[in-house]
Amino acid sequence: MNLAVTVRIAWRAIVANPLRSLLTMLGVIIGVGAVVAMVAIGQGARQAITEQVESLGSNLLTVFAGTQQFGGIATTGQVRTLTLEDAEAIQEEVPNVTGVSAELQRPAQVVFREQNVYTQVSAVTPQFPAVRNFHPAAGSFISDADMRRRAKVAVLGQTVAGELFPDTDPLGQQIKIRGVTFTVIGVMEPKGATGFFDRDDVVFVPLTTAQRRLFGIDYVRTIYVQVTSPDAMPDAQTGLGDLLRQRHRLGPTRDDDFSVRSQADVLQAFTGVSRTMTLLLGGIAAVSLIVGGIGIMNIMLVSVTERTREIGIRKAVGARMRDILVQFLIESVALSVSGGIVGILLGVVGSRLITRLAGWATLISPQAVLLAFSFAVAVGVFFGLYPAQRAARLDPIEALRHE
């Protein structure tokens, strides 16, 4: 029996009951739409993170205090093994190092007159803009002199500047961080809210000032080390490892009290996390596809019962079991495929809406669309098989007698 005829028969059966067909498809529509949208969000997040990590500057090594790991990322907590002196030593003694930025972040309340924001205070060194590829847009950044004098100066991120100074020029204004008065000497360029956190929601102060006057500590959390070229990365990594072990007086039997990550490591870790998320979301969406398939099976069983007489007629005029089987199978596949196509459109439109409304990056990948579509076809075949077999096995006489 000719396929085009079978498809036309299936199509006629579907449009004969438009509402019922639509409701039946709804499960697959939602399932496929969810798969496409979820994977788009996951992939978009992954791409955003990748771009962000790359924008931090290439050829960058990151030294964390402590060695605890979570998914490849050191969780440093309150480990106090790294100091500003370590950073200076790396700069001077490790070959092929072009810049070192020692950093310490603490959340704190920042006040200007009646305005106040709760933000991240990032204590950094003058090399920060060069190493982290993040520069002031107005005014100046923290200088070596500020470091030496432990000057009470601050450079604002765009978000903080906007919130504290909605209509005044922040440069030269006095703000209070933890009750200590700072003079605003600069405002950073916007970095945007890539991924899930706002890189402009920050206030930079000199590391020495923060250690002594704000937090009363003498350690740093992270040291960023810029290396001349990617080829020099492995040597620099071992060199600074040896240097830190020596400076921290670690005997041969002791583990490192710090960990070194290259950008590639960080990227890999984030990618792993986002892949897990994509799989999880995709898995949830797949469950709804299966539920959609059960809906198709249900309605196909109803359809077989309703059309028992038609099946009888077809058998009487010479339809073989295989003809009936194929006819009903094509009908259920047509249902799931139509649902799949609508679902893909819905997923694409949905992703666009998410990007526009929530500001999340989304990325529609052809593979995800193809996967969702094949899954829809598979659902149609799998859940259509049993009703189709039931139709094919009907006794022609019984079927013809059916009212």
Binding site: M1, I313, R314, K315, V317, G318, A319, R320, M321, P396
Partner: protein, 236 residues
């Protein structure tokens, strides 16, 4: 060679574990070109016999040879092929596909036969039953008599060996029934073998041979003269 040979055919139905005999040894031979009317009261086995003749059902015992071939041993697919090519069915309740134009209903057997020039052949068959003008009409837009003529067009479109008509006039008024009967007579004149099941002695009188069923057996089998005054036997 006879077209149809039934030999001691028995059919027993299983109903809730009970064995209900429907045919108790039927022997019947039909030659090509015959026009046979089967009569009998309800439950006499005439419909069961029709179903077996049309390869819609299999006998429990006995043999059925169609054109010399024993069909009782054939596989489902082979039986479907026989129904498709050797038989044309006409039912009391027309049994046309709903929401499907007349011409496509007539095309249906050709779809399963893999015929490619379906449309002209279907139109020719509709022409033969005088319904070419109604080819695009849906069954719901046709009268009962017209629907039954579409069924005849579907039955003859594959040029079968035999047309099996089960109470073809059962749902029709006398005018429409008359049209159907003259159609059957015309087919018979053209050499088509026809087996007609009916309750109605007047309808049966159009045939050339009358077979009477009772309690699963043939109780009478005799030729009919052309248009007799009355045909005996209980109508039930």
């Amino acid at each position: 060679m006879p077209l149809i040979e039934l030999e001691n055919v028995e059919k027993v139905y299983q109903m809730d574990g009970l064995e209900v005999p429907a045919l108790r040894g039927v022997t019947l031979t039909i030659d090509p070109g015959e026009f046979v009317a089967i009569m009998g009261p309800s439950g006499s086995g005439k419909s069961t016999c029709m179903n077996i003749l049309g390869c819609l059902d299999r006998p429990t015992a006995g043999t059925y040879r169609l054109e010399g071939v024993d069909v009782t041993t054939l596989h489902d697919t082979a039986l479907a092929r026989l129904r498709n090519r050797r038989f044309g069915f006409v039912f009391q309740s027309y049994n046309l596909l709903p929401r499907t134009p007349a011409v496509e209903n007539v095309e249906l057997p050709m779809v399963y036969a893999g015929v490619t020039d379906r449309r002209p052949r279907a139109l020719a068959a509709l022409d033969a039953v005088g319904l070419r003008a109604r080819a695009r009409h849906l069954p719901t837009q046709l009268s009962g008599g017209e629907q039954q003529r579409v069924t005849f067009a579907r039955a003859i479109v594959m040029s079968p060996a035999i047309v099996l008509a089960d109470e073809p006039t059962g749902n029709l008024d006398s005018t429409a029934a008359g049209e159907i009967m003259s159609l059957m007579e015309r087919l018979s004149h053209q050499g088509m073998t026809i087996v007609l099941v009916t309750h109605d002695a007047e309808i049966a009188a159009h045939a050339r041979r009358l077979v009477q069923f009772r309690d699963g057996r043939i109780v009478r089998d005799e030729p009919l003269r052309r248009r007799p005054e009355r045909v005996g036997g209980p109508a039930g």
